[in-house]
Every structure is written in C-alpha cells, then in structure tokens.
C-alpha cells in the first residue's frame, strides 16, 4: 500500500475518468470537429444563410440607438413567446440585451415584486398574495394579455372508445383522493382497462390552472400519477402507453398531433375540441386560458423597456405564430393596444 497512498483517495474517481476517456476514444473520433465537414453543414445552412437572420423587414431606424439590459423572468409556458419577441427586437436594436428566464410564474413574481426583474411572464393572473408583496416594495405594474392557450387533455391514439370527456368525468379522474383505476370506473360504457395518468408537476402554472378549473381549487389533485416538469416527458409517456391520459399546453399537442389524440371537452355546453378557433372564441371552456406579461411601471419609464413592450405588442401576431401559440382574437388585440396607448400617453 505504501506504493500508492497518494492515489488511494482518488482511485474511484480516476477509474470513472479513465473509463470515460477510453469510451471517448472509441466512440467516434472527435465529434466536435467532424461536424465541420461540408456534408454535415450543408443542410442547416439551407434554411438560413446567416444563422440568426430571418426575413423580417429591415430595421426602421428609431430616433436614438437604444441600449441597456431588460431582465425578464417568469412562466416557462410564456418563455417561448418572450424569447421570440426578444430575438426579433434584438434584430432591430442589437445593443439591448434581454435575458429571459423561466423560474415559473410564481418564481418570476417573487423576483419581480422585489424589483429584480423588469418584466414578469405569467401563465395566470397575479394572485393577491403576490400583489401584496409587490405593493409592499412599491413595485407597480401593468398586465397585458398576449396570447391564448388551451390546456389540452390527450390520450393515446389507441384509446378509441372516447372522443369527448365532460369536466365532471375529468374531475372524477383527477380529483384529490380519486379512486379511478380503470376507464370503466369513470364511465360504465368504457372498457375495464387500467388507466395510466400523466401530468405536470406542482410547480407548473398549467397544474395550477387545470386543478382550479377542473377540481375547483388550485393545487387540489390526486398525486398518484406520473408527473414531470418537462412536458415532453408527458408527451412521450402518453404516446408510449396504450391506456394513457395526460394534459399540457396546446403547443405540445400541436407539435405531436401524430402520436396523440386530443379529447374534446364538455364543460356543460357540448363537446368542444381544443383548436385555435375555439380557444380564441372562448368556447373551449373551462380549459382555455390567457398568457400574460407584467411590465413594471418604473421600468417602463426607460426608453428601451418601453420600446420593447411596444414592439412586443405591435408584433404580437408574428411572435405568437413563431412560438406556436394561439393568437389573440381581434377584440383582445384591440384591447391590448388601447391599454398600452393609454399607458404611454398618460
């Protein structure tokens, strides 16, 4: 042992390192540089010649070159929207830096209400507790509704005996203490097959909204289901399990229509399928929701923040389309613009 005392403590760690090394050596040369060969790169360059460049109109020169940092944090559902807006805005104002975080709606407000962020993304309206903290710290804000979303209840395509589900049935399945184990327990017409459930974790705004809309109280839900903060895990779970049901935001269904079946939801006024039109029109109830941004009024005094929010609102259609969400309807859009104009003129 006196030969290798120095190494004793590190032996396991070094073992791992050397295994990794051996594997790297045999696991295909140097993956990083080999990507440089022309065959590899030719495909992605086709889509766009110069990387980040899109075919947006040339920058309309503002009065003065804007600069600064606008911190945005909040809902991970709204994250794709705000990051698209930030990217488009940056094409016109390259000196404005907009980092976008995804601490969740609640986590975002926690930072926003102590003045650490300029804009908060939210997949539900601010709740009274949060508003109180904002008030205590003299953070005033405005609420802009920027897009529609429909929480989509999906099943595996193999589930062919149901195409429409009532909110009562949903509650029966998802309520706290629910003892539904098979489809048969929900509706006697359905087969006696085990039902496997997938849903978002408790930190998610989607979870908050769904539990409130279906079970009547935010956060009340059965807990013995497969939960994940990553909606793709739910997508994979439901598409790989013949008796599965799950729920998440509409864009995850839109991207995975081939491997999932969306259920129509009957909230008391007939079956309504989740679709851009039904969500926009408000018929997809009670699972249709709006997504929000909350800019701080103090921050809105800064020209770059005001310019960004204005840009966000004026280009809301293309932002929503690029992020794969359901756009606002005409009335909502008018309200949004009016609200912003009142704010900036007053």
């Amino acid at each position: 042992m006196n030969l290798s005392t120095t190494r004793r403590g590190f032996a396991p760690a070094v073992a791992v390192a050397s295994i990794a090394l051996v594997l790297a050596a045999c696991g295909s040369g140097d993956p990083v540089t080999s990507g440089n060969d022309p065959i590899e790169t030719s495909e992605p360059t086709e889509t766009s010649a110069n990387g980040g460049g899109t075919t947006t109109p040339p920058p309309e020169d503002g009065p003065a070159e804007l600069s600064g940092t606008i911190k945005v944090d909040g809902s991970s559902t709204v994250f794709p929207l705000t990051s698209v807006a930030a990217e488009l805005f940056r094409q016109e104002h390259p000196d404005v830096r907009i980092p976008v975080g995804e601490s969740g709606t609640g986590g975002g407000f926690e930072k926003f209400c102590v003045g650490e962020t300029a804009i908060s993304d939210a997949s539900r309206p601010i709740d009274p507790e949060e508003a109180k903290i904002c008030k205590k710290n003299d953070v005033t804000y405005d609420e802009f509704s920027i897009a529609n979303d429909g929480i989509t209840v999906v099943v595996n395509p193999a589930v062919d005996f149901v195409s429409c589900i009532t909110t009562d049935e949903l509650q029966k399945i998802w309520d706290k203490g629910s003892e539904v184990d098979s489809w048969n327990d929900v509706n006697p017409d359905w087969p006696d097959e085990e039902i496997s459930l997938y849903g978002p974790g408790t930190d998610s705004g989607t979870f908050d909204f769904f539990t409130e809309a279906i079970n009547g109280e935010e956060g009340i839900s059965r807990t013995d289901y497969q939960s994940s903060e990553n909606d793709n895990v739910i997508v994979q779970g439901v598409s790989g399990d013949e008796n599965a049901m799950g729920y998440f935001g509409y864009s995850y269904y839109a991207e995975n229509q081939d491997s999932l079946k969306a259920l129509e939801v009957d909230g008391g006024e007939g079956c309504v399928a989740p679709a851009p039109e039904t969500v926009q029109g408000g018929e997809y109830s009670p699972l249709g929701r709006q997504l929000f941004i909350y800019p701080s009024q103090a921050e809105l005094q800064k020209p770059e923040v005001q310019a960004f929010v204005e840009f966000y609102i004026q280009n809301i259609d293309s932002v929503v389309e690029k992020a794969g969400f359901i756009p606002l309807n005409e009335q909502q859009k008018q309200e949004l613009e009016q609200k912003f104009q009142q704010l900036t003129s007053g």
Partner: protein, 304 residues
C-alpha cells in the same frame, strides 16, 4: 481499486502475481469474484455507452461549427448555437477555480499542517467540512440567492454564480487536498525540519510539490462537478435565453446545463436535437477536464 491496479501494472509487476500463488486464482470462488468485479465494471460502462450513443445519434446533425459561432435563437433552432452558454460555462469555471482553489488548498494546509487535531474547535471544523460536502447542491443555490445575490447585493451576474459554485465545491476540494497532503510521508517533513527549514518552508518546498498530483486531480474532478450543476443556477434564476456573451462580472449569463434543460423541454423536435448536441459539448468539456486531471497526476507523480 481497479485504476491503481492497472496503473501499477505499467510500471511494475502486478502485486497479485508476485504475492499470491497461481493455484488460488483457479479456485471457483476466486473466479466468481472476478466475474462479479467485471460485471460491476460492465454495468457502469454499459450505461455510459448507451448515454453517449444516444446523445451522439440525436445530436449528430447539429454538431457543427454553428453551435460555437452562433447565439441562441428562439425562432430558428435548426441553426441556433450556444455560444453564450459555452462562454458562460467557461467563465464560470475559471472564476470558480480562482475563488475556490486558493481557499480550499490553504484551508487544507492549515488543517493538516498547522491545526492541532486534538482541539475541539478543529475537530468541529473538520466534521462540518465533511458534512458540507454532502449537502445537496440546491441548498447552495438557496444560500447563493439569499446571502450572495440579495444579502450582499452581488446581483445575479457571473460573480454570484461563480461564488455559489465555489461554495459548493470548496468542501470537496478541501477534503481532496487534505488527503493528498496527508499522503506525503512524514519523513520528508522531518527531514526538512531537521535541516533547519521553517514550517512554512517545509510546506512550500516539500509538502505542496509532493501533493500537487492529488490536489490537482481532486480539484479538477470537483470543478467537473460544478460545470455540470444546474440546480443551484436554476435557484439563482439564471436566464435560459441569453443571446449575448457576458462582458463583465455582473452581466447576466447562462450556462450549458441551463440551456440543455430548457431546450430539452421545448415542444419542437429541433430544440431537442440542439439539446443533445449541447450535451455532447458539455460531455466533451468534462472529458477534457478529466483527461487534464489524469495527465497532471501522471506528470507530477512522485514515489517514495
């Protein structure tokens, strides 16, 4: 122990070949034990292999130079890069190393060479360091958020991230450095002191150089842990979409694990491919760091 066995084999005869009779190797128990050892090794390698193959296959089409030259994009994941995240992680590592290496090594020197192990205070410190090494990383994130970012007002820039990660790996570095220092034979110290060297001269000229391989290996492995950490950064609220490079210590930044986590949860498949490609980059960085650890160890290895 497998590493040190193979290591020895290159320079000298296998200890077992010398020490034990061949006859014992053929007993069924001996063979069964060998098979068991190999099976354990195979499990580790198998899963690492599966992981590597998967991310390589998934991310292959995006492992191109754009990954390094382009910034993140929310609109065009097909051509988006991760330059800010790669740079962010590198800066983060550099700063973390700057903060925690001197502190950790000096603390280890104190505990090993100066502190009186029979004193209660020192035993308490020792126990605490060992416990801290086992504290989950999320807790350090909360500490960083509450004390560094808000309490001390360091904000949410690189410096806070690096200090938080430093706190996270500091106990590991102290423990590793202590092991290395302890492994330096006492005869060396006594020889040095007998020749009239002071305590500090002994540490500086004899003990530290002899302990370098151990300290370096331990520190680099600790830093490798830090570079892959997402949890404390998530708690700190490190932004996931940062299409610009950090320019100062207080600038907002992002890091590889954060970007991987975010792009893996995007609905569109292009983001998930990008995520796999970034995982490969992170793994490559980790392998490089581990290689460096092995090289340093072999280069400075001393035998008595």
């Amino acid at each position: 122990m497998s590493a040190s066995t193979t290591e020895v084999a290159t320079s000298a005869a296998r200890p077992f070949d010398v020490a034990t009779g061949r006859a014992h190797d053929r007993s069924p128990k001996e063979r069964a034990f060998r098979v068991m050892l190999l099976a354990c090794l195979a499990v580790g390698i198998f899963f690492l292999g599966v992981l590597l193959t998967r991310v390589l296959v998934d991310g292959w089409s995006r492992l191109d130079s754009q990954l390094f030259t382009e910034q993140a994009s929310a609109i065009l994941p097909e051509t988006a890069g991760a330059q800010a995240a790669i740079l962010g992680s590198i800066y983060l590592m550099g700063l973390t190393a700057m903060f925690c290496l001197p502190t950790g090594v000096l603390a280890a020197i104190y505990l090993e060479e100066y502190a009186d192990p029979t004193k209660r205070v020192n035993r308490l410190i020792e126990l605490n360091i060992q416990n801290l090494a086992a504290v989950p990383s999320v807790v350090y994130g909360i500490l960083g958020l509450g004390i560094l970012a808000r309490g001390f007002g360091f904000g949410f820039g690189l410096i806070t991230g690096a200090l938080t990660l430093s706190l996270l790996v500091l106990p590991v570095i102290i423990i590793a450095s202590r092991e290395a220092i302890r492994a330096v034979p006492d005869s060396i110290r006594q020889g040095s002191l007998a020749l009239g060297a002071t305590r500090w001269q002994t540490v500086q000229r004899q003990v530290l150089p002899a302990a370098v391989p151990g300290i370096a290996t331990g520190s680099i492995l600790a830093l490798s842990r830090a570079i892959g950490e997402a949890a404390p950064l998530v708690i700190l609220g490190v932004a996931a979409f940062v299409p610009f490079n950090p320019e100062s210590l207080t600038d907002p930044f992002t890091a590889l694990p954060i970007v991987i986590y975010r792009s893996a949860s995007e609905p569109s498949a292009d983001f998930r491919i990008l995520s796999s490609a970034i995982i490969v980059v992170l793994l490559a960085v980790l392998l490089l760091m581990n290689t460096a650890a092995i090289l340093i160890r072999n280069r400075f290895q001393k035998r008595w």
